[in-house]
C-alpha cells in the first residue's frame, strides 16, 4: 500500500516536471517568435493584425486580399535570417520547397512570382512605397514609414 502511494507521488512529481518543461518550451518558443521577425505592411493597409492562416494564404497566392477586402501583395526576401525564420514560422516550408511551389504556379499559369528583395532595408523601402505590400524584416530592423502587423 505504502509502495503504491510512493509510486503515485513519484508519478505526480514527474508529471509536474513534464508540464513545467513544456510550459517553459512554449514560452521560449513564443519569445523566439516575437524576437525573430516582424510582419510589416504599407501604411495604406487598414488592418493592424493578421492571422497566421491569412498570412500563409497571402504568401501562397491562395488569396490576394485580407478579410476586410484590402488587396495585398506579398514581398519576399531572397535569403537571410529573417527569410529563414519567416518561412519556418509562418509558411511551414523550406526555401527550396517554396521556390518549387512558386515555379509550379508560374509554369502552369496559376500564379506570378512575388517581388523579391535583397535585404531588410530594401524590404522596408519597397513596402513603404508600394500600395498593399506586405513583407517581413528582422525584429531589430527599424520599421520607418511602414506599419507593423500583429500576427495572431
Amino acid at each position: 500500500m505504502e509502495a503504491k502511494r510512493q509510486t503515485e507521488e513519484n508519478m505526480t512529481k514527474k508529471l509536474k516536471y513534464i508540464v513545467m518543461m513544456v510550459a517553459v518550451a512554449i514560452l521560449a518558443a513564443g519569445q523566439a517568435r516575437a524576437g525573430g521577425v516582424k510582419v510589416i505592411a504599407n501604411v495604406g493597409v487598414p488592418a493592424n493584425s493578421i492571422s497566421v492562416a491569412e498570412l500563409k494564404s497571402v504568401y501562397l497566392e491562395e488569396t490576394n486580399s485580407l478579410v476586410d477586402g484590402t488587396h495585398v501583395q506579398p514581398v519576399l526576401e531572397k535569403g537571410g535570417p529573417a527569410h529563414e525564420i519567416f518561412l519556418k514560422e509562418y509558411l511551414d516550408r523550406t526555401d527550396p520547397a517554396l521556390q518549387i511551389y512558386y515555379r509550379t504556379l508560374i509554369f502552369t499559369g496559376k500564379g506570378l512570382m512575388p517581388k523579391a528583395v535583397l535585404s531588410d532595408a530594401e524590404m522596408v523601402a519597397f513596402v513603404a512605397k508600394t500600395k498593399g505590400a506586405i513583407g517581413y524584416v528582422s525584429s531589430a530592423t527599424p520599421a520607418e514609414g511602414v506599419k507593423v502587423l500583429e500576427v495572431k
Binding site: 488569396t63 490576394n64 515555379r103 509550379t104 508560374i106 509554369f107 502552369t108 499559369g109 506570378l112 512570382m113
Partner: protein
C-alpha cells in the same frame, strides 16, 4: 503529315538549332541584361513576367529501343524540350498569360511548337475562381507539371501513371475550370477542388497517332471532349496530402489508311505488331495509291486516380494509382478495342544537402487488351511494365540541374495502346527486360 512523321533530314536539325539559339539568347538577355532576379518588363502600366525552361536528355538502353528513340547501341540524345511563358495581372483579381512548349522525343514532337496553356484567370475569392482558355488539366499529383523537369527529383516520372510519350492525351483542354480552396471546420485541414470541361486536341506528333502508323493509319485530327474533377485534402497531419481525380473523355480521330497492313478485325493473330512492315518512304509510296479515310471514336473513356503525398523536411514520399479504361471503335467501325490500363507507383526522395537530392521509385503498369494480346494475363511481358528506378539530382545552382537515373524494366507493354516501347523502333521484336540509363540536364528562369 505522313512525310513529316518520317522526316529525319537536315531541316529538322536546322529547326532545332534555331530554336535552341533563340531560347539561349533570350535566356542570356533576361538573366544578365535585365537587372535583378525578376524577368519582367512594363507594358501599359502592367508588370509582365517572362519565364522559361529547357532540358536536354540522353538515354541508353541495353535492349529494346525506348520512347521512340534508338536508345540501344550508342544511345540517343533526341530528348529535348523547352517552354516560354508570359503572364501579367491586369487587375487585382484578373490574371492572363500564355506558354509555348516545344519538344523532340525521338519520333515525337519533332519541333512542332504548341500552345501549352493560354488563359484568363479571375479569382473572386480563395474558395472560388474561374479560368478560361487553354488550361492545363488537373489530374493526380503531377499531370499539369509533368513537363517541368526541374520541379522534381526524377528525370522521368513513373511511366505507369505519366507516360511521357502520351502527354498530349491528358495535358490540357481548351475550355474552362472552376477552382477554389477552403478550410474545413474543427481544424480538419483544407480542401482544394477543380472542376473542368473542354476540348482535348492531340498533336499529330504524339505517341498515339504515331503508334497507329504501324497499321498504315495516319491521323490528321485526334481529340474531343474532356471533363472531370479533382479534389485534394490537406490533412491535419502536417505534410500529408490525399486526393482523388476523375476524367471522362469522348474522343474521335480522323485520318487516312494506306491500305497496309490489310485492315483486320479482332480475329487478328497475336503478334501482328512484330510482323508489321517498317514505315519507310518506299512503303509509303506503295501505300499512297490506296489511301482511304479511317476513323475511330470512343464508346467509353474514363480515368480514375487516387493519390497521396507526405512531405517532412527533406523527405518526400508519394504514391498514386490510376485506372484508365478505354472502349474504342476503331478501323472505321470494323473493330472494337478495349484497353483496361492500371498503374501505380511508390516514390521517395530525400534532399541530402543543398546541392544533392536522391530518389527511387517502383512503377507498376499492366494492360489488358482485347484486340491483340490475350486479355487479363498481366504475367505476359507484352501486358506489363514493372520499372525499378534510382536517381541522383545535383543542383549546380538555383536554376540549373543535372540528373542521372537508372531504370530496370521488366516487360514492354506492347498493346495497341502504347506504353513506351514501339514496334517501329523494334522491328526484330522485344526482349523481356530492359535496363536504361537517363542523363538529363535542365535550366529554368
Amino acid at each position: 503529315m505522313q512525310m513529316n512523321l518520317l522526316t529525319r533530314g537536315p531541316e529538322r536539325w536546322r529547326k532545332k538549332r534555331v530554336a535552341f539559339r533563340a531560347l539561349l539568347l533570350l535566356s542570356i538577355v533576361l538573366r544578365f541584361v535585365i537587372p535583378g532576379n525578376a524577368q519582367e518588363f512594363r507594358l501599359f502600366q502592367h508588370t509582365v513576367q517572362v519565364h522559361g525552361f529547357a532540358s536536354q536528355g540522353y538515354v541508353y538502353t541495353n535492349h529494346n529501343n525506348w520512347l521512340t528513340m534508338n536508345t540501344s547501341g550508342s544511345g540517343s540524345a533526341e530528348m529535348t524540350d523547352m517552354g516560354l511563358n508570359v503572364s501579367t495581372a491586369l487587375t487585382d483579381k484578373l490574371r492572363v498569360g500564355a506558354q509555348v512548349y516545344d519538344r523532340e522525343l525521338g519520333r515525337l514532337g519533332q519541333w512542332h511548337p504548341s500552345l501549352d496553356w493560354a488563359f484568363a484567370d479571375y479569382r473572386f475569392a480563395s474558395w472560388f475562381g474561374v479560368r478560361g482558355g487553354k488550361v492545363k488539366t488537373t489530374l493526380g499529383l503531377y499531370n499539369d507539371t509533368q513537363d517541368l523537369d526541374f520541379l522534381r527529383t526524377f528525370a522521368l516520372l513513373p511511366q505507369s501513371i505519366y507516360p511521357t510519350d502520351l502527354r498530349d492525351t491528358t495535358i490540357a483542354h481548351s475550355g474552362g475550370d472552376v477552382y477554389g480552396k477552403f478550410d474545413l471546420p474543427r481544424h480538419a485541414g483544407a480542401l482544394s477542388y477543380t472542376v473542368y470541361a473542354g476540348h482535348r486536341s492531340d498533336s499529330m506528333y504524339s505517341g498515339y497517332p504515331y503508334v497507329l502508323t504501324q497499321y498504315g493509319s495516319f491521323f490528321h485530327h485526334y481529340g474531343g471532349l474532356q471533363y472531370g474533377a479533382d479534389l485534394r485534402w490537406e490533412t491535419p497531419l502536417k505534410g500529408l496530402l490525399l486526393g482523388v481525380s476523375r476524367m471522362d473523355q469522348d474522343i474521335r480521330g480522323d485520318g487516312e489508311n494506306s491500305g497496309f497492313p490489310p485492315l483486320q478485325t479482332s480475329k487478328q493473330p497475336k503478334g501482328l505488331l512484330l510482323q508489321a512492315p517498317r514505315m519507310d518512304e518506299g512503303n509509303l509510296a506503295q501505300g499512297q495509291a490506296g489511301w482511304r479515310p479511317v476513323w475511330e471514336k470512343s464508346k467509353q473513356d474514363w480515368t480514375n486516380q487516387f493519390y497521396g503525398q507526405y512531405t517532412r523536411g527533406p523527405l518526400q514520399i508519394s504514391s498514386e494509382y490510376r485506372r484508365y479504361f478505354r472502349d474504342q471503335i476503331i478501323l472505321s467501325g470494323m473493330a472494337e478495342d478495349l484497353d483496361d490500363i492500371r498503374g501505380w507507383y511508390v516514390a521517395g526522395s530525400y534532399r541530402v544537402c543543398k546541392r544533392l537530392e536522391v530518389g527511387s521509385y517502383y512503377s507498376h503498369y499492366t494492360v489488358s487488351n482485347t484486340f491483340m494480346n490475350p486479355p487479363k494475363d498481366p504475367d505476359l511481358p507484352a501486358n506489363h511494365e514493372y520499372d525499378k528506378v534510382i536517381t541522383g539530382r545535383v543542383d549546380l545552382n538555383r536554376f540549373w540541374n543535372i540528373k542521372i537515373e537508372g531504370h530496370f524494366i521488366d516487360g514492354f507493354g506492347n498493346a495497341p495502346y502504347p506504353a513506351g516501347f514501339y514496334p517501329q523502333q523494334n522491328p526484330g521484336g522485344f526482349r523481356r527486360n530492359t535496363n536504361g540509363l537517363v542523363i538529363k540536364t535542365g535550366f529554368n528562369f
